[in-house]
Symmetry: C2
């Protein structure tokens, strides 16, 4: 039985693109032996044709007209690694319209335009695969789409942004303040010079939207995702977390809450006993709670050329396999869901309040919690005099109730400043 030839057209030749070509070069014969698929990159669309490209097979056709790649009759599968909305969206649509399966790592595009792209792929009966768009080398999407296709998934919590996890891990391990940890992440190339997309939680929000689509079949886009970042987390917050056997992590949370689906991103304080707490450095991890499977966690490299290329490779092999069998894996229709609104979430909270240390302050502050029906789990005073800080862990309360409390607290003359408010994840 001869091998099936599959010709790949690559859009974009950056970090991931070149890693993908190198990996394929190295693994081509092993893949052929294992799967009977002979994979070959035949076209690569680049921005600048005059730039020198090392290690690129002379048989590969380089072009600066990506439209040619997605329409070429000599391309069987399109791999999109350019990122961004334009022209990626048009190119993927054209590829799908030409009945070419698409593999993409484009989280931004999927989180904004996933629904339309999925619908088009299903209509044309071809695959759209995007393992690399969420948590890099971690095979989350395949596990959700296939292994857990019959699982009553209840909750997915993910550390899906390596930059912020690096910063928080450093703050935990070395006690460094946020600014210092961020600077270090920038020096190591983990954070960009403008780190906003990562530290604001927006990048994680894109991934939360994609997870909600895949795991819950929910018609959710980035716009629907409430997100909060890590910019306001202080070393005092982290020190308190550590002292009490916790740490702080930025989570993408996708969970069924009664009739609402929660799709949000925020930092949480969570126990060192939770498997997610030991996910250090720039690693990613996704924790799945299923009604049948129980607790499941996937851990690995969320970014980087080679880990991402590895995820793309798995998708390419799967698409090639399906194409060779004239089949595909339908995405299915995304259904409208009731999303949990801002302020409705119930959680325990960590609240740090900077106060003037004078008699009666605690009673005054505590009474405001009480007035708003928020009961306190623990209270602690750190420091004395001008540096005094009251730290409260509340019992479960609605965010709305809390807002009310906070606004009254900040009006008190004895309160100098409200610190960061962090949700406490109950084990």
């Amino acid at each position: 039985m001869g091998n099936t030839q599959i010709r790949i057209g690559l859009l974009g030749f950056g970090n991931v693109g070149s890693a993908f070509i190198a990996l394929l070069e190295e693994q081509r014969s092993a893949i052929a032996a294992r799967t009977g698929l002979e994979l070959r990159v035949t076209h690569v669309a680049v921005k600048d044709l005059t730039k020198k490209r090392n290690g690129l097979d002379s048989e590969i056709e380089l072009t600066d007209e990506p439209q040619q790649v997605v329409t070429s009759p000599e391309v069987d599968i399109v791999v999109e690694l350019m990122g961004g909305l334009f022209p990626a969206k048009d190119l993927i649509e054209t590829a799908l319209a030409n009945s070419k399966p698409v593999v993409t790592a484009n989280k931004e595009l999927l989180s904004k335009e996933g629904k339309g792209l999925f619908r088009l792929a299903d209509k044309k009966r071809v695959d759209i695969h995007f393992e690399a768009a969420v948590a890099g080398g971690i095979p989350l999407i395949r596990v959700l789409r296939e292994s857990l296709a019959g699982e009553p998934v209840e909750k997915i919590m993910g550390i899906v942004n390596g930059t912020t996890n690096y910063i928080l891990s450093q703050m935990d391990e070395t006690g460094a303040p946020y600014d210092e940890a961020l600077l270090e992440a920038q020096q190591l190339g983990y954070a960009e010079s403008d780190p906003t997309a990562d530290v604001s939680g927006q990048d994680a929000a894109s991934k939360a939207a994609i997870i909600a689509m895949v795991a819950f079949g929910a018609d959710v886009a980035l716009n629907d995702v409430l997100f909060e970042g890590i910019e306001n987390i202080s070393s005092a917050d982290m020190a308190f977390a550590k002292k009490t056997g916790n740490t702080i992590k930025l989570l993408a949370m996708v969970a069924q809450r009664d009739n609402d689906l929660e799709v949000q991103v925020y930092p949480v304080m969570l126990s060192k006993n939770h498997p997610l707490s030991s996910v250090g450095d720039s690693y990613n991890a996704v924790f799945v709670e299923g009604n049948a499977v129980g607790d499941l966690m996937l851990f690995g490299r969320g970014a980087g050329g080679m880990p991402t290329a590895s995820a793309v490779m798995g998708d390419v092999i799967d698409s090639a396999f399906n194409l060779s069998k004239k089949t595909y894996r339908a995405m299915g229709t995304l259904e409208e869901v009731s999303l949990m609104k801002a302020g409705c979430q119930k959680s325990a909270y960590y609240i740090g309040v900077q106060v003037i240390d004078e008699p009666g302050v605690l009673a005054t502050v505590a009474s405001i919690f009480g007035d708003n029906g928020i009961s306190i789990q623990t209270m602690e005073q750190e420091g004395m005099g001008g540096e005094a800080r009251l730290i409260f862990i509340t019992h479960e309360a609605e965010e709305n109730q809390l807002e009310e409390t906070l606004s009254r607290l900040s009006g008190l003359s004895c309160v100098e400043k409200l610190g960061t408010i962090i949700k406490v994840l109950e084990a």
Copy 2:
């Protein structure tokens, strides 16, 4: 577009079988909505027809003749949950010969007869799926077969036996001796009254063989796997591990070592910084080191009715999907490999030596290590007088070298007893 009807014949109706039926009952319509597959159990083969079965749909045909299920024209997919070699082997062979895809959780059968069954399935062009045979609810097999199909996997280390992991975790957390932790595991139903298959490492060895087949395409069977258990691990060993920032875990190790493939099971001392060290209780986890993907870990429930049923369900959906598309996922041919032989492994070792505490003992003992070319990383004496114990961590050495050293040590008059020898996993 109407749904595709898929009729399932179940062999065995124990813990997992009944969980599977309950899960399917609950998830049928969700699965149909998501995949267009209408799954229905039509036949169940049981041992004893007279036994009362609660909650079983009256439309399901119960039989004590499993041959009827695997040959019935009214069964599309066979799910084998009986376990053991006979009659499971014949039944699966008959099902495959009748072109029925098979889903099985039978690790014993696969580790002994996998090669022939895979060959038969490929020949008949039908699926054989076995996610539940290794690490229960953890989607390891699918990730290896699909996501990592193009990945240069170098090493797989698995905590794949929940019973021994529970025992070791208890010994670590509470300081309990082995016997006590085992008894507790038995009382909780984690260990059987005859725990040999688990504590000897044999169960993990079955899984190591299956992992070697799937991840390395290696023609390996249970007989080829060297295994060592946890019966000789003492609370003193665990206490030392803990004191030095380590713990002890039983690992299934499948790794490419130069030209040899290592497929073995043994306890290791590993750093608390390693992600596998925090896998507590009866959880399983598998750590994959790939050349492209980097470090990857999958963590979850390795046993139990519902987690196992969840893995079976993923396989059933996949088989049903492929069947409906008239396709299948080939297992490929298992190739002969050069297996690493006993004694050839290089490792650092932990060695406890019970000695008579008299002047010169350390020098005598140390000189024997030196004579055999084994250099010592650290040495520590615990206790005094009759209770004295020398603990050595060696630098990397071959097992054969070590054997020689140990036999000479045990011949010394000042040596009362050699304790457990445990490999130390270098980070």
